[in-house]
Symmetry: none
Subunit: 203 residues, 4 copies
DNA sequence: CGCTAATCGAGACGGTACGTCCCGTCTTCAG
DNA sequence: CTGAAGACGGGACGTACCGTCTCGATTAGCG
């Protein structure tokens, strides 16, 4: 809960919150507007009305800025996370969330954001860890609650951890999205949910 | 099996096979030696003893060259694919392959190749499609055979396609690799196989 | 009169006159169409419908081809040389020729040709010599006749050679053209002629 | 005398004088060391310890840089201009300067500089104008003074402008240098001076 | 409340890699 | 067995970003 922003050396009290927001907003906007490799620090600085020096004073590189921007957005809008409802019917709850994810993936902006995150994660282990903790971790927490309830209701095997369960229904969708290896439809989402539940069912 | 080499514009008859191989080999070598963003077209050209113009004559960019190099390697060494054995025990067969995959992912060279492929796929839809068809597709074919046998043996549900089955056991591993969200151990591989088989079992 | 074309090694008997003319014509055409540095051997070859290899077989470089093309034209159209009339009035005869030169210099094509010649002469001593002998020399011969007549008529000092006399009325115009240091008008031409004649007059 | 440095677009206040001098000096040095076409922007940048981008930020091309370098040198060393002495004997004064010019033309460095200037002037009208104003113009001014004195002393015709007078003794030498059409000796210089004076003499 | 030092915008700088263009050579293939 | 077509290695081009830096101008917070 404490301020996680142990980031850079400079005094940090003097830091202009205005510049910081401008940079993050500009980064976010550009990520949805341009193919990722065409986003440059110069462009972000220009769009934000901020100097390049200011950006490099507070972030180590383009990637760190982009990842922080996305984490920030993720923190600002908790409703967009994987908030699993609990109707008692695990498969239906999962299917609902997967349908929502599939719908979101069709949105070019969301697609662009995901792409940016993935690229930076793949290029820099430090950013990958940051993504895992600040974005993936948050999502995992939400899922954990629902699974705890399911476990309590005896709907989950004992030998499957939350992370493995989470992977079981998220990874296929993500894999298909990233590789464009098949259609991302509601029917597909339902199928993934059904298979996940079968795999997780006790007995 | 047919000639898949409908590739680029120029006459293609006059093309120097020697230069082509040199470029692909150099690209492959560099991918395993350097962090991906540090690989430059100049370096590939120099290593291959080929001019930059020649590279740009036949490939649109670094990414296309790298992807073709990997696809080529994939075609040259079929033994490194997902060749699923058929012992009759589907879960054991899957677990064996997943263990092999997990081992491979620990190899820095393989890691670098995968990273390169993923980054390029994410940056350019055309390359993503090329990867899907020339690399992913080949792997899928191998898997298909084993699943056909399993299906014939009544070990597979009727309502699950090969692609979905494939995703079920490959996507979690890939997801965990890419996000570094958990350990990639033999135990984990076994767990994925077990869950996949449960999800695919009829009834 | 003898064949001056002791040029290159190849058989020369087999040489395709058609290709040779096509190349020279294309070079000439391009010189008048494009700024000189943009004229490339590829462009000449393409325009001529001749292969680059053929060009390099017979000429050492672009410059040699261009210079030969201009020399050829110079030889083909003797009427465009400095043909000094002989009316008995040396100053009037010179003024007439200088006016003609000045008019020609206003023609963009002629301007382009001169530019090409000068550039090549400056870049390569061998071509400079070729220009001197095949183009300048021809012009000088024409002038020599008129000056011989003038000398016979006692209108020329004894201590001035033809070359010096020639320079006296040609160099100023050429210098002004090349440096764009002043207007090139008929009045100017007349002035140059007058000064030249004063300088050359005996006594 | 006034600040002639109205040159390029960008802010110019922030411009690094150090980089500017380094680039000009390097260009000048290379011009005297290498045949002109072999001088590359990369080489100038490397020699100057300056980045290519900096060169292109302030000069449009190699030619502009070289011309400015020569103009700069011309401004820095006024003693090397055509400083006509005034002994009262115009012909002797001219002959002296022409002998000096002829000697200079025998110097390979000077030859290279002139060649470079001429080539660039012929290839680009903008540079030709720059040469005329920043180099030729300066020389002309020096000559003008001597001619004003001569005119005051009644040694010059009224109907000949300074520019024409200047051409009369400079153009032949320049023409002979550029075309290599004859020897550049002291005797020749004396002859040119004599002819020029005859042409300019009143009556 | 005014001094002083950090931060800000602007943008020039040394670099590195880019992707293009042209050179002059060499190979292939149609006539 | 010529010659058009054009791929090739080489190398310079001019551009685009990178991340650093130097400028004044602004501004915050300690004295």
């Amino acid at each position: 809960m404490a301020d996680a922003s142990i980031r850079c050396v400079p005094s940090a009290t003097r830091r202009s919150e205005q510049s910081r927001r401008a940079a993050l907003d500009a980064a976010l906007a550009l990520v949805t507007e341009l193919p990722y490799p065409r986003i440059t620090v110069d462009a972000i600085a220009a769009r934000a009305g901020v100097s390049k020096a200011t950006i490099y004073r507070w972030w180590s590189a383009k990637g760190a800025l982009v990842v922080e921007a996305l984490a920030q957005q993720s923190a600002d809008r908790p409703e967009e996370h994987l908030v699993l409802p609990d109707t008692g019917d695990l498969e239906a709850d999962l299917a609902g969330v997967l349908r929502a994810i599939v719908d979101e993936m069709a949105d070019p902006s969301y697609d662009a954001l995901m792409r940016a995150l993935s690229i930076e994660s793949l290029q820099d282990p430090a950013l990958r860890d940051q993504v895992r903790e600040q974005i993936f971790g948050v999502q995992l927490e939400y899922v954990e609650r629902r699974f705890a309830a399911a476990r309590a209701a005896g709907q989950l095997r004992d030998d499957v951890g939350t992370l493995e369960a989470f992977e079981l229904f998220v990874a296929p969708v993500f894999h298909r999205w990233q590789g464009a290896t098949g259609p991302l439809t509601h029917a597909y989402a339902d199928g993934v949910a059904a298979r996940a539940v079968r795999a997780l069912r006790p007995g």
